[in-house]
Symmetry: C2
Subunit: 402 residues, 2 copies
């Protein structure tokens, strides 16, 4: 671990058991933690202007190296003055390394695996080869051959100018066996060193680097990876790779992984963000979470809601919502809940009106931000346990104290 | 013509030749004219919350009887307290009669005809029969058989609770011959009487009714129709039906139609709204225009812009926009022009990001509102001719004085 306040400082203000409330200070302002990070995969949060995402209270978004490399390409974003300027986002940006995407092409999507489906992804895009050097793949945009390696990933992230870059890793799938996972994790550690070497020589002093812990569901491999990443001289640590086939296994993997990491390091759990997962992760001392869930649910007519027995969501397209004049969530300050009712959103969502997706994205992101703000308050008040229990038993997040 | 200030009053404040600036006062507030009316076809303006549409400056939107009849149905909207309440729109609403849609199913889309293509529409929906009684058609939603007649159209519009209802008419297509058009126009006049009879007996005193002039491209039929509608006891007059195969023919039809109508009547030109058409229509004394153009263009990556030689639009997906760091339109106050540049919008529009459509809808509606606000100022200053010339030769609308 290294500490360089010019690029990143992480201050812990309050603790409640392993849970902590803090502040990541980046060159683009502070990020109150624990924080949920909306995805701006291709330089925009689905349906939202950047100023609107900031208006909800977000201070950090996640950009996607793989997608931005395929189009518009790092040169064009650098010419625009970097990703912040390009997408008119005044806050902080973390960029993933592209590893998740290129290996998803090869192995099948990891997000499906956590849900136990393990489908292979289809499409124009294809991985052409995984080598020690890096991964060759075909652009889904124009079929051209592209390469992501530790060096090229860091170089793209340098051009994007994110506040936090993630190192290039292999995201091992759930169906990988122990031997594959062990060899892959060792290679990820060699790639980590190459990323840091590139960044030391060419990177900006204003860009922090987070290393990624791999090791699949194997306790010894995870512990080994925690040690390797902790000692590598990174500014923060992300937990990647498969976390198992279900939530019970994810809990187990996190319980034997997180305590192996330095307490003072900012910790990011990659790609996880259902309501119960956030409560669990915060309880273990995770500071950052990113996930497609709030925006993806919106596309399918789903609103986040305090309904633990229904995975914290309402399917607004179901007939029960027709004629229901309640807001999605009582007291929620988003546009959908302030101006409209379930009856209307049921209709426009079933009618595939663009406004429905937009309203649901804003609602779901508002819900998440209030959930996290409430958690931060609860940690300060040393009542995070109560807060978590209340949320898990169906309390609506209010953005404030439990 | 009738005048009942409880449901509608129309005040003319300034004149500049046939062009006039005025104010339509509805039970849901005033509408400054000449006005462009955004389409809220299925109870939402594409991608926008109602409060955002009002924020741009709009005071009147158009809802669609045909689509709202198919789903969610008039009973559900009435149960919600009417269309204003349902869609959280505080301003005024005009509803079309559904005639355009059911006849488009039978005849092919009229909007294509004005552009000279005259394609037949395809899809699940189908017209099952055109009779004196009305039109039977099949729901595109569930295949059920539905009926629109003068009485049922007015009854649906009563349930929607719009401020202005349009009478049920046959929208004759360009390819209809003189004999068909003459017979159809006469039937439309009989339907007009039935609409007014139904409304007199069952309608709300707070809902105004506009009659629709038909007659195709035939001067004598148009004149006859102007007379019939003007004498029927309506609150305002809409001009519908085919206006010919191109803009020259449209100009000709309007020039022999508009002078046949009472000067003091509010006049609505249905379905027309390109920039040059608006300038032309305002110059003839038209007060209201509705059109899908601003929202439809957005879906196809088109931004309205002061480029007369390019039909007042920029194709933002074209490669010329990549690397272009100018706003869509210099000085435009919309989010797209305030926060982003053409380079970014080119990228997100080519990437099919929802945010692109949303930003372009807001831009196009902002452009239209400023164009119309400028026209209102110009009429007050008796310089509408200068304004029109400036716009047609490439001046950007500023919402203010020329």
């Amino acid at each position: 671990m290294r500490h360089d306040p010019e690029r990143l400082s992480f201050e812990i203000d309050a603790r409640d058991g392993p849970a902590r409330r803090g502040r990541l200070v980046t060159p683009h302002g502070p990020v109150e933690t624990p924080a949920f990070i909306p995805l701006a995969t291709k330089g925009s949060v689905r349906g939202m202007a950047s100023r609107e995402v900031a208006g909800i209270g977000y201070e950090l978004v996640l950009g996607n190296t793989y997608h931005l490399l395929v189009a518009p390409g790092p040169d064009r974003i650098a010419d625009a003055g970097g990703l912040h300027e390009f997408m008119a986002w005044r806050g902080a940006i973390i960029t993933d390394s592209g590893g998740f995407q290129v290996f998803s092409l090869a192995h099948g999507g990891i997000s499906e695996e956590i849900k136990g489906t393990g489908k292979k992804r289809e499409g124009l895009a294809a991985t052409l080869g995984i080598e020690e050097e890096g991964v060759r793949f075909r652009s889904y945009r124009d079929g051209s051959e592209l390469m992501l390696s530790p060096e090229s990933s860091m170089s793209v992230q340098a051009a994007l100018g994110s506040d936090i870059a993630l190192t290039f890793d292999e995201c091992t799938p759930f169906h990988a066996d122990r031997e594959y996972t062990a060899r892959s994790t060792e290679r990820t550690h060699r790639w980590l060193d190459r990323c840091l070497a590139w960044h030391g020589e060419h990177g900006s002093e204003r860009q922090a680097v987070f290393g990624i812990v791999q090791g699949g569901t194997y306790e010894d491999l995870r512990q080994e990876s925690c040690g390797a990443v902790s000692q590598a001289g990174v500014d923060g640590i992300a937990i990647g790779g498969t976390l198992g086939r279900d939530k019970a296994e994810m809990a187990e993997v996190l319980e034997f992984t997180v305590p192996e990491l330095p307490v003072e390091a900012p910790k990011h759990l990659l790609g996880i963000g259902e309501v119960d997962d956030l409560m669990h992760g915060i309880g273990l001392g995770i500071d950052l979470f990113d996930c497609a869930v709030p925006t993806r649910l919106a596309r399918h007519g789903m609103a986040l809601a305090p309904q633990p027995q229904k995975r914290f969501r309402i399917d607004i397209r179901k007939s029960g919502a027709a004629g229901d004049h309640r807001p999605l969530v009582e007291g929620c300050p988003c546009t959908a809940c302030s101006d409209y009712d379930r009856d209307y959103i049921n209709y426009i969502s079933r009618s595939e009106e663009l406004t429905a997706v937009r309203l649901l994205v804003e609602h779901n992101l508002t819900y998440m931000e209030r959930l996290m703000a409430g958690a931060r308050h609860a940690i300060s008040g040393k009542v995070f346990g109560d807060y978590r229990r209340a949320i898990l038993s169906g309390a609506a997040p209010t953005g404030c104290c439990p």
